[in-house]
């Protein structure tokens, strides 16, 4: 049948059906394979290099205690975090770029990371400590920022471009507020905030990762439903409504999921820029799905942050960079290219 897109294959089991697209399967497998490679590499590399077979053995009960400690307790949480957080940021980016219908409309550009950071700083200043308080502060900060940007950008309807401009302005205001908070805070809080504010995965342990991992996994389970909404909303609000989507509800849910994903990462690792910006666009070109696809974007985000963290740890001999610095450097170049390209098109 010509109705089937090129190369795709329908699969039907009882009332269930789907369309298998070879390109999506191949790219997903490739991205997962590369991510597994990065994971193994970051478990091997470090102050002492541990050969791959010892890394694998470290996860078995009869592993030497030192290997086990280095690989499972020290390196693995960080390596896994880079992949999980990258996936969360990639998905969040796809959601926001789809909602704003603009490659610049990602959560880091419209100030959600900065807002989540403000939330954490406020919690710290109020003497709050502990993962729960920090995460709560980040999510609340992110949601409040999203609400503020939404309220300021709303003019009888939401226009992607206006939202981005307002978001950049709000982000700049929050960034200066963050600096002020840091200056006002006691020295130890200020130091802690500065390290964290650069976006870093250093010193992560399984405990810090568990909450985000589980929260992220739960939210990722909603992806099939969310991407259904996204595919309809990309045709415009009117068409989506006619296709049976309750647009206001769908958008609100998408915003909340996107904000929570990005804020959770911010709560643990600080604001990591550009993954959410770049991943959806790379995924789109790689997968040619004709739409923002959160799953592909999550896979690409995984790879980007995993790769960036490898660079952050090992590029400068003896010195370790915060991963946020690496993503900003890589992403800065991408952003310049994007702005030039969009400028030329407009």
């Amino acid at each position: 049948m010509t109705a089937v897109p090129a190369g795709a294959m329908p699969v039907r089991i009882g009332p269930w059906s789907l369309l298998l697209r070879p390109r999506l399967i191949v790219t997903s497998a490739g991205l997962l394979g590369l991510a597994a490679g990065i994971l193994l590499l970051s478990l091997c590399l470090g102050d002492t290099t541990i050969p791959p077979e010892h890394v694998v053995r470290a996860f078995t009960p009869d592993a030497p205690r030192l290997d086990r400690m280095v690989v499972v307790e020290w390196r693995a949480p960080r390596a896994v975090a880079a992949l999980v957080f990258g996936a969360c940021l990639g998905v969040s980016g796809a959601i926001f770029q789809s909602l704003t219908d603009n490659p610049l409309g990602s959560p880091d550009v419209i100030g959600l990371n900065t807002g989540a950071f403000s939330g954490v700083l406020v919690v710290m200043l109020l003497g709050g400590a502990g993962a729960g308080a920090i995460a709560g502060g980040a999510v609340l900060g992110g949601l409040l920022t999203a609400g503020l940007v939404y309220a300021l950008a709303y003019r009888g309807g939401l226009q992607g471009f206006r939202l981005i401009i307002v978001g950049i302005a709000v982000s700049a205001m929050l960034a200066s507020a963050n600096t002020w908070f840091s200056v006002k805070a006691a020295l130890d809080v200020s130091m802690q905030a500065a390290v964290w504010g650069a976006g870093t995965l250093t010193g992560l342990r399984w405990g810090g990762l568990a909450a985000v991992g589980m929260g992220g996994a739960l939210l990722l389970l909603t992806l099939p439903w969310l991407s259904r909404w996204m595919r309809a909303l990309e045709l415009g609000d009117d068409t989506a409504a006619v296709l049976g989507v309750r647009t206001e509800v769908a958008k609100a849910v998408l915003v909340v999921v996107g904000v929570v994903l990005t804020s959770m990462v911010t709560a643990v690792a600080g604001p990591i820029a550009f993954i959410a910006l770049a991943a959806p666009q790379i995924a789109r070109r790689l997968r040619r799905s004709g739409s923002f696809d959160p799953i592909g974007s999550g896979l690409v985000g995984m790879l980007l942050l995993g790769g960036a963290d490898l660079i952050a740890q090992h590029a400068v001999p003896g010195g370790r960079l915060p991963v946020g610095a690496v993503t900003v450097c890589i992403g800065g170049g991408y952003l310049v290219w994007l702005l030039l390209r969009e400028g030329r098109r407009a």
Binding site: A3, P5, P15, P224, L235, D237, G244, V245
Partner: protein, 278 residues
């Protein structure tokens, strides 16, 4: 589980032509107002005859699109009700309404890089779910609507590369794939050259003859006169006149609607009225 799409209208298989129940769309006392400005619609009541090709005409900013959008529930009127077979559409479930009525908006969004077949497939949204993403019924409806609109040969092209006429046919195919008995179109011929305008109108007429109810906002009076079975003429948010083209296209009524001084003659080929502005 939801009801399979093929049994919505009672028939076991086939398109909407096989399940004509003659859905009756009515708007009663519809009022739409934005803030302190004068109302865009003043207590407008319409009765769309089942099986008709109803054209809505009128000068710019007379409320044509607003009426169409209210009928499709894209816009909630501040007063009045839209009834589909006697049920207030404001109380209908989204999916229920989406399988009964489709709307082609004036400027739908095109996702960058999407290919024709994928875009048409998106019209199946209300018939699909996360677990049922490509049923036989979906595939059939997509193939039929692409065939009807003559876009099978461009099925794998990117929509960005198409001409205006092709693109409009793709949009109509998407609306057709939704497989609704009522199809509303907001200025489906704008931005098309004359050949493509006629092509689109012919297609709509065929769809109407096959049993669908078509409601379209049209600009060209003579095209409305030739292709529509019923015409609604609006001005300043009110309906000035409605009826069959022969009753509606008269010099008096055209003056009332457009302030237009004209003669009306009969098309020697088709017998439909032709408006000639003086």
């Amino acid at each position: 589980m939801r009801t399979p799409a093929s049994t919505v209208g009672g028939a076991a298989a086939g398109g909407p032509s096989d399940r004509l129940t003659g859905m009756h769309l009515r708007g009663s006392a519809l009022t739409v107002a934005y803030g302190p400005q004068p109302a865009v619609l003043h207590e407008v009541s319409v009765d769309i005859r089942p099986g008709s090709f109803t054209a809505i005409i009128g000068p710019n900013a007379c409320g044509k699109s607003t009426l169409l959008r209210s009928l499709a529930r894209v816009l909630s009127p501040s007063g009045g009700h839209v009834l589909l077979d006697g049920t207030d559409i404001a109380r209908m479930r989204s999916r229920e309404l989406a399988t009964a009525m489709g709307l082609l908006p004036q400027q739908p969004g095109v996702p960058e890089g999407i290919v024709v077949a994928d875009l048409v497939a998106r019209g199946r949204h209300p018939h699909q779910s996360v677990f049922s993403r490509w049923s036989r019924e979906d595939e059939r409806a997509i193939a039929v609507s692409m065939e009807r609109t003559g876009i099978l040969d461009i099925a794998h092209r990117s929509v960005d590369t198409l001409s205006g006429g092709q693109r409009q046919r793709v949009w109509i195919a998407m609306a057709l794939a939704q497989d609704t008995e009522l199809l509303l179109l907001d200025e489906p011929t704008t931005f098309l050259d004359i050949t493509h305008q006629i092509e689109v109108l012919r297609l709509l007429r065929e769809l109407q003859e096959a049993g669908r109810t078509i409601v379209a906002v049209l600009h060209e009076l003579n095209q409305a006169a030739r292709f529509a079975t019923d015409v609604i003429a609006m001005r300043d948010g009110r309906i000035i006149a409605d009826g069959a083209p022969a009753e509606l296209f008269t010099p008096e009524k055209m003056r009332a609607v457009y302030d237009l001084d004209c003669r009306v003659i009969s098309d020697p080929g088709t017998g439909s009225p032709v408006v000639l502005p003086r």
